[in-house]
């Protein structure tokens, strides 16, 4: 997806997250935070020229929905565009330090995904605070990166 669309989603997810009750709505609060962070990482990867900003939407690592000849979306293999989650797929090659730091912060959030959202671990205010702090770091780094010129993706 293009960077502007990633930033638009981040803006709307963050507005919603602000309306949700952190603990009372933890599942959707967390999911909005995780989606915000994933869009931020994707925008940063595109900006760094590490992945393609394109109208291709991931269904699983390596497989994207792309417009077919009739305009309808069809699954197809594509080079790395948007990641589904940090590490899915792993982006090969040396990445800028700030993007690596964003991904490391996202790992903190992702670490709580399955236990707290799919599993039986109850979320705690400490877990929520840890996720919020990690996401804030991601967004600070994204804002810094977006204030600098970007690079085009080169295969």
């Amino acid at each position: 997806m293009n960077i502007a669309s990633h930033l638009d989603k981040i803006d709307r997810f963050e507005r919603l997250r602000a309306r949700l009750d952190t603990m009372g709505d933890f599942e959707l609060w967390f999911w909005a935070a995780m989606n915000t962070g994933t869009n931020a990482v994707n925008a940063a990867l595109h900006h760094a020229g590490a992945t393609i900003a394109d109208d291709a939407f991931p269904t699983q690592p390596g497989v994207y929905l792309v417009p077919g000849t009739d305009g309808k979306l069809e699954p197809a293999f594509r080079p790395p565009g948007d990641v589904l989650h940090v590490g899915r797929p792993k982006i090969e090659g040396k990445l800028p330090e700030d993007v690596t730091a964003m991904m490391q912060a996202m790992e903190i959030i992702e670490h709580h995904r399955d236990p707290c959202i799919r599993g039986e671990r109850d979320a705690t205010p400490e877990i929520a605070a840890e996720c919020a702090q990690a996401l804030e770091k991601v967004l600070v780094l994204l804002r810094q990166r977006m204030s600098t010129p970007g690079k085009a993706w080169k295969p």
Partner: protein, 122 residues
């Protein structure tokens, strides 16, 4: 996770979805996926098809045999959760026009799953 826990989590997520506005189609779809998956697990546990130590996470991660087995239990249920999952790439991860209509459809499918679960509730 036991059936009642799935029910409680599904209901809590549905209360959160109600806080989403017109601009929040992605999180309505994601909420439908999360709550809908809890309802699927509630139904499968209540029917005795699966136990609490075997929860479905994403329909697309099931083996072909698992999908066939759960579809024998309730084909419409598995089709509903699969359709919700299929909405996500274009409208949650993508920016394809029609997001609000896609969210409306996801919530209709969630209502179908909730209704099936309620029939099995004591």
């Amino acid at each position: 996770m036991e059936a009642l826990d799935h029910r409680q989590r599904a209901e809590r997520i549905e209360r959160s979805i109600a806080k989403c506005g017109d601009a929040d189609h992605e999180m309505k779809i994601e909420g439908a996926m999360l709550a809908g998956t809890h309802w699927v697990n509630f139904i499968l546990h209540r029917m005795g098809v699966t136990k609490g130590d075997l929860d479905v996470m994403h329909s697309y991660m099931l083996t072909v045999n698992e999908l066939r087995k759960y579809s024998v239990a309730d084909a419409e249920m598995m089709a509903a959760i699969a359709e919700i999952e299929d909405i996500r790439p274009a409208h949650v991860r993508g920016n394809v026009p029609g997001g609000p209509a896609a969210a409306k459809r996801a919530l209709e499918l969630l209502a179908t799953l909730r209704a099936k679960a309620h029939k099995l509730s004591v």
